[in-house]
Subunit: 215 residues, 2 copies
DNA sequence: TTAAATAGTTAGCATAGACTAACAAATTTA
DNA sequence: TAAATTTGTTAGTCTATGCTAACTATTTAA
């Protein structure tokens, strides 16, 4: 089986490929907190396994095989997060680190059972799509709250950033997925937004708005 | 943190210490399916960490510190097995391999939550005691069915062997923990036992009886 | 009680995955 | 466009954990 190291690289590469399409060595090194030479040698190894296309000094490309393998790991991660929240009562800000470890468990039955007990969920607690067993993944067609105009009424569907601090911030503002948000005003100067939801008003910074995905 | 390797060695050493009190290198090597020199060097390392007492050519002794650390790992393993059976619907013959992986997860909250959801169980699905958070573990005071005499009526409490094959055999005979068994006859020649339980009779081999713990 | 068998040890080596130092290519900017 | 900066690469090293071959100590059995 593939080592946890390999799985971690693959996951990071997959995520960067989605975010920017171009994957570069430095980005991987930063995401994994590892040196550039470490990335370089692992990248060559992954290329040798047919998971990446690698040419010296060129941006990396993930192959279909690599993409599928990464999606299966991400499936395990996201199913686990959903399970921890829905069946074990954890908060959405607590589950990342645990899922990060459970995603490496080798047992199809374990994750299939989670999936079944959860009723085959489409999305994880942060709104990210859960790939299916074949590594197919729904594309996220939400827009950022930051791109909405005053008067619009939208529903919070997902987050494009899921750090603990951000999730705790959202908790403190009672912002949860599914909530209906009305945009009242946009400050021209700094793009702060005054919004209304759950019977009260808040001012959200442009930074926060950019990470809230709505439709 | 300790590596998975270290944790696996410690667990095996702990189990052997319970079973035989004397721990020897060869036993560890067989249990972990690694070479003798690998065990030798790891044993020195564990001794250096204060988890074992090691003297050349002498039997190994686990220290209190090592014992506690091992018990905490076994706690995670057994809680996981219980959780998989009770909350996820797995059979007792399916859970070992999954628990073997989950036991290495570093997250007190994760296992504490399992414990809580299970209602703080004392024993795992095979009747083995679950150590508490401080590494204290109840001693098993059951006797083997093989030591019982005709006419006795006992309850199946635990197993002293838990291989998949044995568990599947028990499934096929409808033998579960908690079942009441009456000893009808013991064959002097081979110590086979004729027993009655759940409204029918069975003949159990001496080998099987020796692995069934009752009281 | 000595020879054979078993158990434990040492030395030396392999692989995975990380690192630093030094260098080369590509890109940005003055 | 040439210099400076950033990005990527290579070479060589380190640690963890495994291995085999060769040797030594201990235990068992003839």
């Amino acid at each position: 089986m593939n080592s946890q190291s390999i799985e971690n690289y693959l996951k990071v590469i997959f995520n960067q490929a989605i975010a920017t399409d171009e994957v570069n060595t430095t980005g991987i090194a930063q995401a994994l907190e590892v040196s550039l030479p470490s990335v370089n040698s692992m990248v060559k190894k992954l290329a040798g396994m047919g998971l990446l296309e690698y040419q010296k000094y060129k941006p990396l490309k993930i192959t279909e095989k690599g993409r599928q393998m990464a999606a299966r790991i991400i499936r395990k991660h996201r199913l686990t997060e959903m399970y921890l929240v829905e069946k074990m009562g954890f908060g959405w800000e607590e589950v990342h680190d645990i899922a990060e470890q459970l995603e490496h468990v080798q047992s199809a039955a374990f994750f299939d059972r989670m999936d079944e007990l959860l009723g085959y969920p489409q999305r994880d607690p942060h709104g990210s799509p859960i790939p299916n067993k074949n590594g197919q993944i729904a594309t996220q067609e939400y827009q950022s709250l930051a791109d909405c105009r005053p008067g619009e009424q939208v529903e919070l569907k997902a987050l494009s950033h899921t750090s603990d601090e951000f999730l705790k911030y959202l908790n403190s503002k009672d912002l949860k997925l599914g909530i209906k948000v009305e945009i009242l005003e946009v400050e021209a100067f700094d793009r702060n937004m005054k919004v209304a939801y759950g019977g009260h008003q808040e001012v959200l910074s442009a930074l926060v708005c950019s990470k809230l995905l709505v439709s």
